[in-house]
Every structure is written in structure tokens, then in C-alpha cells.
Amino acid sequence: MIGPVSRRTLLKGAFAGLGAASLAACSSPVGAGIAGSQLDPGTVDYWNLFGGGDGVRMQSMEDAYRKANPGTPLQAVTLAWGNPYYTKLTLATVGRKPPNVAVSHLTRMKTLQSADLLEELKPEDLARHGMSAEMFNQRAWNAGLVGGKIYAIPIDTHPFVLFYNTKICGQAGLLDAAGALKPIQGPDAFTDALAKVQKVTGQYGATHGINADTATPWRFFQTLYSQLGGQVLSDEGTKVVLDDAKATQVLTFLRSLTVEKKLMPSSIDYQGAIALFANGAAGFHLNGEWEISTFQTAKMPFSMTLVPNVFGGTYAVQADSHTLIVPRGGATAEGQLDLSLGFIKSMLDQSMTWAQGGHIPAWQPVAQSDAFKKLTPQSNYAAAADAAVYDPSGWYSGSGSNFEIVMGSAIGAVEAGQLSPDAAIAQIRSKLSALASTASPV
């Protein structure tokens, strides 16, 4: 009995030791966990949803903040993009232990505000840190106001853009003398450009994500649909105002590109669409500008520009903006708000770094600077910030929301050849009216 007992005692001892060590290493959260007290006052707790290239860039911006502010510990947490991020942010705020600063898409921030989960930011506090309304892109700034009050600080606008392979487009005769893409106006010109490129590649003209990707089909649809002047929801999402004629026009056009003319693959996922473009199997790629780093790393000859004004009219393109918000209860400790605002200002000051990730800075001192104006290909599509069409307001709407999922899956199904435009519109109407008729819980 002695042998096994001493082995067990040894293991038990190690076990207890690990327990004690972990307890000792973190008295503060344990105290908070037992007594509900403040967590780490004097630090900045920052949550974001940036993975991939954006994540790396954000980390370097965070490190720059740390270097410049050695006395203020910064704890950054990255959570999975979309609904999981917003659910956790909501739970943390309802659970009275929110982060001090958090990223929020502009289209989601409205819902958070309606749910009373955000702190109002007063102009005098912002002024103390060198921020005021006119220093931001007006379209993004105004879109974030609720009843004239400030709840979010926009840091960028990230539109849907057109990537093009300069070599292939050159061979297709689509570039001008300076090597930039000649402007494309109208559906026929667009189709024509894709066809010319397809002749060069031998496979496809353009690609974008369709399978298991509801965001991209929605963004493409919304861009074209808005160019026709169409809207989807009104009255804070309680009314479905989809224009059947315009929607059919867009869906039919999309279908012609994928199913009928086979200029774009009809069954491809997000990563696959990127890979095809990177490998030269397609000359165009439609996606958000954030994928710029992917193609730069792939060392392929490419540039970016505005998505063409396919349907004429006032130019419009789907976009969203990232903003920084202060959750309710995230600034209760003395001096916490100033620490958080100082962090936000630091992020704005580093907008040039952020812009290198493809985003258009909302912070005008950088957006209007020579350095940014010279930055290509970002400057090619910087005008998108002023033509940005945000997702319609509604408690169930916003980036990565159920609204986008409903729209995107129907549109994607049309592009994949699984649904006719009429069937898709019927599906959209039925699902959206179910959502629209549900009483808003916020």
C-alpha cells in the first residue's frame, strides 16, 4: 500500500501546487470573481474582431500604443467575427464587466445603442483629446449619430471594391495609358470586360465568394441595387420596401454572369474565390478592400478600384465602417474614460498604418494628407467613403447579422443557379417580413 500511496501523494501534491500557483498568479480576477469587484483598474481593456491581415495590423498599432504609453497596460482580446462577437459584447455589458473600449461596425452600433449598451461620448471629453466632429469623414460620422448624440468614433470606411489583375487586364486591353483600369459604365460594358478577361485567362472573368458566404453576395447585390436607387428596409426595419422590379433586374444580371454566361464561378467559397484570382484563373475579384494584404503577400500584379457604376445613376457602393465604442459601465472608474479616449486617439493617429490594410481612414487629418493621397491602390477608391451605402437600420440588421444572412443566402442561391430571381425575392420577402413584424426587443 505504501508504493501506490506515495505515487498518489506525489501526484496530488503536484496537482495542488498547480492550483496554488494559478491562484497566486492572479489575485485580482479571483477577487473580482468572488466579490464582484473592479477588474484591473488603470488598464485599458480592448475588444476587437480583427483576424487575419487586419488582426496583424491592429496588433502592431496596439504595440505602438504600448510603447508610447508605458504606464497604462493595454489588454487586447480578439473574438470571432460576426454574431459571436456582438453576443459576447452584449453579455459582458449586461454582466457588468464590459471592456473599456470595443470595436463595433457602424451598422451594429445602432442596435447596441437602442439596447442601451453604449456610453454617450460628450463633445467636451472628445475635445480634451483632440477629437471633434469635423475631423472625421462626414458621412461616417453622421451615420453614427443617434438623436444628435455621439456614441461611436469611426476609424474607417471599408467598401466593396474591384480587384483586378493588371497583367491580365493589360492583355485584355482594358487598361489605359497609365496602366489603370479604364472606367466601366453600364451592365454591357461590365459583361464585356469580364468576357475579354475570360478570353485571356481561359477560365473565368471574375470571382467572388458564394458558398457558405452570405456577406459577399449581399454586398455585391446591395451595391448594384443601390445604384438603381433601391432600398430594402425602412422605419427601423419594421417595413420591407424591397422594389421587386429593381431587385429582379439585379438578380437577373448576376445570374447571367454566373449561370448563363459562366463569366464567374457559380459554386465557390470565400477562400476559393481569393485563390482563383491570386492564381490568375480570373482577372477580376469582388470583395472588401481588406483582402489587399492577402494579394500583396501572394506577390501578384494587381490593383484595386471602385466597383463600376454598373447601373448608372448616382454612384453607390456597399460599405460599412469600423467604429470604437465605450460600452455602458466600461468607464465607471475614476479616470478610465480618459484612458480609453487616449487609446482611441492613438488608434486614429495611426490611421496611416490602418489604411495600409486597405481601409479608407475616417480621420480626416490622415485621409486628406499627401501621404494617403499618394498611397495606391487605396487612393483609387477613396471616393467610396462618400458614396458608402450602409445596411438599413433595424435591430436585426448590420454586418454579419440575420438580415445579411437572409439576403445573402437567397442572392447566393440565385448566383449558384439554385433559385430563380422570382423565387429568391419571394424567399427574401417571407423571411424579412417575419423579422420585420417581430417586435423589437431593444
Binding site: N83, P84, T90, T214, D269, W395, A434, T438, P441
Partner: protein, 316 residues
């Protein structure tokens, strides 16, 4: 002093207080000390199990919001109506049942087969126990991270195995038609050990002479299994099946971590639907109605289990 081993007479025997200490037995039974012993459990039970059960039903009749205090506007049976006519609700119920169908048979049959094989081993049973039971000890999050890595496109081990056999790599977690199978496969790996141990213990209880007698009569091993082993393990098997069904109905962790209920909600089970409705969409009243429906379903299945075990206890 006579020591009675007969319980009935011991309980029926009238007891008299030996001294006035109130913790002693009185003629009226042991009410006061009994309640003292029961109170800690009952208080917590009422506050955190029974209370919420009642609150859940109450809340289901209102449009309660996650972020607003109070019960909110009265919805009557509206939430139930919405749930029962909602394709998403029925889809999540179906996903739960489909998951149960995919996992219960392998978890029962494979565990039984492995236990049968292990029973044949005279030494080294510890190795089999370790190999099959170790996964069961892992938290779901650990299991999920390991399998997400195994299922990673291009880089995952499983994809490599498939492509080395000459096939195209399937999109394990990204194909709506395949995702549930992938989750089920990982789950079988994770929880088979529990049933394996149960069956192994049951097998070891079957007297060896039964097998010897049968083999003397010329019965093949397969016949022995069919005629002796399976019937003698019927109690264990019914227990395993019911426990497995109840556990599968409550599935949440694997879909939540590995597919987020996707792609496009293709793997979202009932509990994740509750989570999405109540905590992502802020609609706690509606989520309470769905929870009540789920509660009734699981209660019904559990009642079957309790009925089965009480019946077996009464000696079949």
C-alpha cells in the same frame, strides 16, 4: 440490548426520548432535524432550479428583452405560435434529432463490439481503457479545438489521409451536407469510452461457465454472443441507449465551437437556437417559450428512463 436487523420492526418500534435534547427522536418523528438537514439542498434547489423553471414558463408569455428590465409586453401564446410555425425552430429540432440518430447507434454498437473484443484480452485491458476513455475526460472545448485542427482544409490530418487515398478533400465543416456527419464522427470519438467502460463491466459480470457450457454444446462464438451476451446485457444496453439519447438531445458545445451552428445554420441544434434567439437577438421571452418546449421534450424522454430504471429495480 437486542440488535434488530429487521428494518420494519426497527422503524415501527415506538421510541421514547432518553433525554430532553431536541435533536433526539421524539414520538412525532424527526421533523425538526430532518428539515435542518434538508434545508441547504432545498433552498438552493428552489432558488436555482424550481424557481427558474416557473419563471421560464411565466416569461414565455411575455416579450421579455435581454437588455430591458421587467417582463415586457404581454405576448400570450404569441411566442409559442411563432416557435411552432417557425421553420428555423423546426430546423433546429430536426438537427438535434438528426444528430441523435447519427450518434446513438455507433456509440452503442461500437462500444459493445469493442467491449466484446476487450473481454477477450487477458492482459493489457488498462491500455484499451486508456485509449477509449481518455477522450471522454477532455472538456468539449479541447475536443473541439483538436478536431477543428484535424478538419482544417488543406492542413488537417484527415484531409491529408483522404487525399492520399486519391479522393478530393471534402469540406468537412463547411459543407452543409457534411458538417453534421463531421460533428457526429468527432462526438463518437469523444464519448464512446463511457459506454465502453459500462459494457466492459457488464461483460465481466456474466458467469464464464455459461460460455463454457455453450461452447461444449458446440455453439460458435457468434452464437454465444447472440444467445448469452446480448440478452444478459439488455439492462445495460437500455440504460446506455436512453442516457445517450438524452445527452444527444442536449447537444450544444460541438456545434457552437466547431461550426457556430453553420454553415448557414445547417448544424444548429435546439439549445443553440435558444442561445441565438435569447442572447444574440435579445429576445429572452421568445427563447423562454422555446426552452419550455425543449424542456417538455426532454422531460418526456427522461420520464421514460426513470420509469425503466424503477421497473428494473423492482426486479424483473
Amino acid at each position: 440490548m437486542t440488535i434488530t436487523a429487521d428494518y420494519e420492526t426497527a422503524e415501527d418500534r415506538p421510541v421514547r426520548p432518553v433525554d430532553p435534547d431536541t435533536t433526539r427522536v421524539t414520538e412525532h418523528g424527526h421533523a425538526k432535524p430532518a428539515w435542518l438537514f434538508l434545508t441547504p439542498f432545498l433552498v438552493l434547489y428552489l432558488l436555482f432550479i424550481i424557481g427558474p423553471s416557473i419563471y421560464m414558463v411565466v416569461m414565455s408569455f411575455f416579450d421579455t428583452s435581454l437588455t430591458r428590465p421587467g417582463l415586457g409586453a404581454l405576448a400570450g401564446f404569441g411566442n409559442y405560435g411563432e416557435a411552432l410555425t417557425s421553420p428555423d425552430f423546426w430546423a433546429s429540432m430536426w438537427h438535434t434529432i438528426w444528430f441523435t440518430i447519427l450518434t446513438v447507434p455507433p456509440l452503442v454498437i461500437l462500444a459493445f463490439v469493442f467491449a466484446l473484443l476487450a473481454d477477450r484480452a487477458t492482459r493489457g485491458r488498462w491500455f484499451f481503457r486508456l485509449a477509449f476513455f481518455l477522450p471522454y475526460i477532455l472538456p468539449s472545448a479541447v475536443m473541439a479545438l483538436i478536431w477543428i485542427w484535424l478538419y482544417t482544409p488543406e492542413l488537417g490530418l484527415l484531409g491529408k489521409v483522404v487525399t492520399s487515398l486519391g479522393f478530393d478533400e471534402p469540406n468537412w465543416l463547411g459543407d452543409p451536407n457534411l458538417a453534421m456527419w463531421s460533428l457526429a464522427f468527432a462526438t463518437v470519438w469523444w464519448t464512446l469510452g463511457f459506454n465502453f467502460v459500462l459494457y466492459l463491466a457488464g461483460l465481466q459480470d456474466i458467469p464464464r461457465d455459461l460460455y463454457e457450457a455453450a461452447s461444449m454444446d458446440g455453439a460458435s462464438p457468434w452464437q454465444q454472443v447472440r444467445r448469452i451476451t446480448i440478452p444478459m446485457l439488455s439492462r445495460t444496453t437500455s440504460l446506455v441507449i436512453v442516457l445517450q439519447i438524452i445527452a444527444s438531445l442536449k447537444i450544444f458545445d460541438q456545434p457552437y465551437i466547431m461550426t457556430s451552428g453553420g454553415p448557414n445554420f445547417a448544424t444548429r441544434p435546439a439549445l443553440e437556437y435558444v442561445y441565438d434567439m435569447g442572447f444574440t437577438n435579445f429576445r429572452t421571452g421568445y427563447a423562454a417559450a422555446v426552452s419550455t418546449l425543449f424542456f417538455i421534450l426532454v422531460l418526456a424522454v427522461s420520464a421514460v428512463w426513470v420509469f425503466l430504471t424503477r421497473r428494473q429495480e423492482q426486479g424483473l
